[in-house]
Symmetry: C2
Subunit: 452 residues, 2 copies
Amino acid sequence: MSGSSRSRSGDTRPPSLGASTQAEDVSGATQRALIERRRKSMGANLLFYRDPVHLVRGEGVWLFDDENCRYLDCYNNVPSVGHCNARVVEALKRQAGVLNTHTRYLHESVVEYAERLASSLPAELEMCVFTCTGTEANELALRLARAATGRRGVVVMEYSYHGNSNLIAELSTAGLPPERRPDHVVAVEPPNLYRGPYRAGDPLAGESYGRLVAAACRELDERGPGVSAFLCDAIFDSQGGLEAPVDYFEHAYRYARTAGALCIADEVQAGFARTGTMWGFERYGVTPDIVTFGKPAGNGHPVAGLVTSRKIMERFAESQFYFNTFGGNPVAAEVGCAVLDEITERELIRHVVDVGGYLRSRLEELATKYEIVGNVQGLGLYQGVELVSDRQSLEPAAHQARRIPDAMKKEGVLIGLSGRYGNVLKIRPPLVFDRANADQLLDVLDRVLAAA
Amino acid sequence: MSGSSRSRSGDTRPPSLGASTQAEDVSGATQRALIERRRKSMGANLLFYRDPVHLVRGEGVWLFDDENCRYLDCYNNVPSVGHCNARVVEALKRQAGVLNTHTRYLHESVVEYAERLASSLPAELEMCVFTCTGTEANELALRLARAATGRRGVVVMEYSYHGNSNLIAELSTAGLPPERRPDHVVAVEPPNLYRGPYRAGDPLAGESYGRLVAAACRELDERGPGVSAFLCDAIFDSQGGLEAPVDYFEHAYRYARTAGALCIADEVQAGFARTGTMWGFERYGVTPDIVTFGKPAGNGHPVAGLVTSRKIMERFAESQFYFNTFGGNPVAAEVGCAVLDEITERELIRHVVDVGGYLRSRLEELATKYEIVGNVQGLGLYQGVELVSDRQSLEPAAHQARRIPDAMKKEGVLIGLSGRYGNVLKIRPPLVFDRANADQLLDVLDRVLAAA
């Protein structure tokens, strides 16, 4: 394929900090032609940026386009141990050339990977099932919860995202018009201490948000389906990266369990050191019944699954079985182990705490400088910058926010947007991001906010 | 990981034709320990064979266990261009070291892959969406069909298998107790000319089986959900690999479309040259509205998706969107292109017709030799051998069938079982399987049937 040839031969050209592709130069024409081919063969435009980026190479926190312009990746959480991480790529290369079958045959790597994941979690979470994607992991978690409880209902957050299958899309309230929300789904207000019903400074905020889960469980009981699960992502990715009150999950889990629900931690976003602990729920001192994982687990290779208790697995196995063609195959298992090795040996948890803390303190400086920055929120290397047009009414500055990723891309920095009102700048770089990278990001953000 | 080290250093030991792992030798004890570790960390036993095979290496049609015993793979359809195919592994290695992001950025390979898939299909099937697994592809196909028709119901086959998510498990009647079948699913008798209601020699069999689809559509209308799709796998994998009457799909599609349904061809099993044509439905002279693909598309790397018309895609995009983190990423696209290259350059379609025809004729000789072989069915390199205890009543010889894969494994040949009654020997090797491989398979099958 020609897509990657230029970067491999053209590395001697000095990287620049990005360039607009609107110019009528050759690269622009090439790119327009590629976009047109893509529109014809792949349809609806899911491309990021008004001028999409045509990437051909990645390395660590860097991405390079077809003109060899270099971008600082402050957005992608999948390549969490760095784009094209050498250890991960080596594991992939080695195993793909030796054997790539499935879990119907014995293989040691998948057992080792399962053991290592379980050992990173509380003792009762001891059994793994491997899938290919986070969506499939959340799907299976729901099947386990329904089998264990005999009920169908699910409590989720307002403006949640848990995946793209039929069932999970119904639980992903961010993408579903309220009138299409089915009877077995009740959504609660996420514990947003900045703009939710209970705010920072309220000592009962955790308890109060937790009570909403209790009410939602009652609602599901009254409607008929009953409650099988409370499903929540501990970094609240689609809600803009929230820090819940530290006692929120303790209360929410207690209420959910009192109602007979299982507690599912969707760790597809928060897991694997992103928030400064190996798992996002650790900060909150709770033990979920089922933990799902995905995106960063294979650093780009599809690796996902869940970990749960023996009892929950056995209840499921009484009446159903689950097999996933690609899930936990020898290549996925070797890649998964290599990612765990990188997290351990590069001390990425400590690193995330350090760099995340530095990034946060510098973002908070920007909040004192620019009136539009209403709040900085998040944990570790997941930081959300809430833009508001009025610090009293908290009116979301969505219009201004929408322009910022494009403006930053022109200056060679890739970030995204999040939140119910589309007004939260999402900063979620590969975990190998360092203080110098943070400085570059912040300098560009400072300039862009000054011009906003 | 130690799992693959022995095969890499131990290739000088001459391969044998398999060995029992029940013996109390060191390997046996090692294997028991690994099985016990697996039971603790991964739960319910999904392992094939009473004595599971501990595989460490694959090459072409061959698999090697931890004692360097060699097995002829007559079962695995995922590594269709051969275990550890050099071109595919090379593409994987090359791209994984250069860039592995997602389809929110422009990349040429995924566009090229989409174009090549579309060009292998009828002209109206022009737009691709990439997923990670066949389950996800079938999930999305249903979302498209429901968006296009505004109805929810689905007509499937009795004893079907289409995947492992909640929705698709409901449509997979092979694994669902009839009392749990939901209102929006109606299953019809598969067009089994050997033991179904209309049999070989009946010139109206195709029309008669087709009418069952019409009746199922009416049933869904009467129940309320209406019919959104007729979903069928053209090789009828879980039903034992059937050859439908040549006019079956023509009638079934006509009736389904008259009722307003879209026709979804689940080509996860039948696609990519398996049946002697690039796509399984080609033999039947029909054009589906949506074609889903998976398993063999990446030869073990997760590559899957669907191809459909612009109109159907646009209807979906009016109200919904779909994004898959790993689907269609640069590595998946390069691997997918390499598989297509192998199919073309090794002339695998012609090869499948040749070797499949030879295999079939020799299997039919066995049918004349052994009373227990009631029927040989299937297409190309998908052959099913139906075992019966009585050729008049067609009583399935399930008990005898269950022993045969284990007995053949001991002689170094891996096959599986299929069918509603578990009495069909499933022979579905990598497509690079040749006449000499077929001879080895048939010699072993002959001996095992003689001793049955």
